[in-house]
């Protein structure tokens, strides 16, 4: 039987427990790092083992995982880690997690409910019962909401400042990414290529960068932020309209890089911003 903190090492109160157990970075052996790295590899590769190990190992691995993903430096990995803890919490759900967090899960104030990322569609605010600022959850939804709290807490504060962490952690972090993801295929993004090669777009340039160009260049084509920014600036120089702040372009590119954001599909833009599609169609950029 695993302990409470073994199941929920991401809880704020678990840190005190780890301190009581005397878990310190400098005591962590290479062997422990190797094991943690292999375990993280299974999580990141989408084949996680949801079983709960002993308390010391779980608390230790939680700390190591956070350091590793911080070294890896991408929200893609943070999300994978968060989803691992979310799913494990959902599967091993018990009410204790809400007691620990001071939440009455059957009647959650809206502000408290919205603090957690709703990673399951069932827990989205528009799918649950909401009256006068209080969210009423059913028994069926409690494990899912518990998973959302686990996700949010486990990724909170990432990336950590790893400047003082021994260099060997970085080596093991890299080993956690067993198979380097091949750059994503740019097939199926012909509409973005068409926009990229277009000139004289009078309106919607910021939206185009936000929906498509920044995510496409860094996430799909794998360009470095500097390369992506210069490509976008070159594209902007071919369009009409007023000046766009370079810092805004930089922010969008870095955001896409940090979060691993993928470009919006044409269908999504058609649904959410039909005006932009009309403009591009009117210019013959899109069919």
């Amino acid at each position: 039987m695993s302990s409470f903190f073994a199941a929920h090492p991401f809880l704020p109160s678990a840190r005190a427990r780890a301190e009581r157990l005397g878990i310190r970075l400098e005591d962590i052996t290479d062997e422990e790092l190797e094991i943690a790295s292999a375990r993280l590899r299974s999580i990141l590769s989408g084949r996680p083992d949801y079983s709960i190990l002993d308390e010391r190992t779980e608390l230790l691995h939680y700390v190591i995982f956070r350091i590793f993903v911080s070294f890896l430096g991408s929200e893609y990995y943070y999300g994978k880690l968060g989803r691992f803890y979310a799913e494990r919490t959902r599967r091993n759900f018990s009410h204790d997690i809400f007691t620990e967090l001071g939440i009455d899960p059957y009647a959650v104030p809206l502000s408290a409910y919205m603090k957690y990322r709703h990673i399951y569609p069932e827990t989205k605010i528009y799918h649950v019962e909401l009256k006068r600022g209080v969210v009423y959850l059913t028994d069926a939804l409690l494990p899912l909401f518990a998973g959302c709290t686990a996700y949010t807490l486990s990724v909170a504060g990432l990336p950590l400042d790893v400047s003082g962490v021994p260099e060997r952690f970085a080596e093991y972090a890299k080993r956690s990414v067993a198979v380097r993801r091949a750059p994503r295929s740019s097939r199926g993004y012909g509409y973005i290529e068409a926009v990229l090669s277009a000139s004289g777009i009078p309106d919607g340039r910021k939206r185009i960068i936000f929906y498509w160009l920044a995510p496409y260049l860094v996430t799909v084509k794998g360009l470095s932020p500097d390369e992506a920014i210069s490509t976008i600036n070159e594209w902007l120089s071919r369009q009409g309209g007023g000046r766009i702040q370079p810092s805004w372009v930089k922010d969008e590119v870095l955001l896409a890089k940090r979060k691993g954001i993928r470009p919006w599909s044409l269908k999504k833009v058609r649904e959410r911003d039909p005006g932009l599609v009309d403009i591009l169609k009117g210019m013959g950029v899109l069919r």
């Binding site: 990322r117 528009y126 019962e129 909401l130 600022g133 403009i279």
Partner: protein
Amino acid sequence: MSEAVARILRDAFRRYYQSHAVPAPPSVEKREFGVGDYGRKIVRRHISFVSEREFRRYLREHAPLYISYSIAYFKKPDAQPMEAKGIEGADMIFEFDADELGLFSPNDLWHCPNCGSRGVVGELRGFRAGVCPNCGDPAKIIMFPDPGREERLKEEVDTLVKDFLMGDFGISRTEISLNFSGNRGYHIHVRSPSLRELDKEARQEIVDYVTGRGIDVRYFFDVSRVPPRGPKPTDGGWKGRVARKLVEILSGAKDASELVRFGVSPALARRIMRERGHVVELIKKGVWPFIDTKADDAFASVSALVRSISPYMGKEIDTNTSVDIHRLIRVPDTIHGGTGLLAKRIRDLWSFDPYRDAVALPERPYLNLHVEYIPEFEFAGEVWGPLEDKNVELPLHVSVYLLSKGVASWRLTTQG
């Protein structure tokens, strides 16, 4: 508008700000401000004021044509870059624009930047919003004051405030501030601590809630039971809203066609109508007997019901204002530099007439304009138009309004 008109405007703005004490936004010392000039809404930002007094002095001395403030609260609002400001939270803003909601009036003009065609919306049969009937390109709609449109806009605003913000989100009326945008719509400022600390993703979810985007009605049903269990009118949120809407439709429907409109098959619609009293009773208990859970499109008609409820669904609404915590928005009770209308704070929505109550500019000086075409409309308590291809001398307030619409051009100024 020419620079000469801009100069006249600046003088008129200065006189207005010298004679009116504009209230500063709450927590003025934590807000970043941006000001704009002729043709550009933001020319300079990262401005801050330590007090309301200083804010008013700035308005009196500089009389900017546009002044906006951050919806966010900052530790150091004038610091640069943005990260150095130290964000402490942000209000939530909902924008309602008549053109985004497709609220066109027969009086409005349309004009196509591509082929140059233009005309009056009411003269076209089946005018499809925003599309030129000649070439199919996006058309520009030029709106004129229309009481019918105002009523519809107010209904949308009222629904958002009462049903969603107060009813669902439990926000107190005192935490909601409503103002005219100064152009074609309304801004709703929500200054509730319960929403203040939400991040971008959570704000997007709130916006999705209001717009009904992303709703998958399958999550409202328990299909493991026979007949399926679904939402009851007494349920909260969208579940209850869907059930109440269905009960309302069933109770008021004259014939089966009103259900067919939502994608219900004619045969099933007739059956439901025959037994509608019983069906309504069942729905009140959360039992939905007519959902065929084996059919591919089992929930299509319920989805159609959701679409009919949300006035914003499928509309091209700029939700960035609600989601972007770094946004600057016009300061309530200041003048919109394009239209000359006040972004007036509203006490009573239903008695508010923007084209009477938000007119900030004086009559004088009169401007000599060449008017291409204007329909008949009411502005500042008087009726103007119709006019076509005429040179006229008009008071400053209505002149600025027409210039902002691009339907008139300035010829020369006369003082009088």
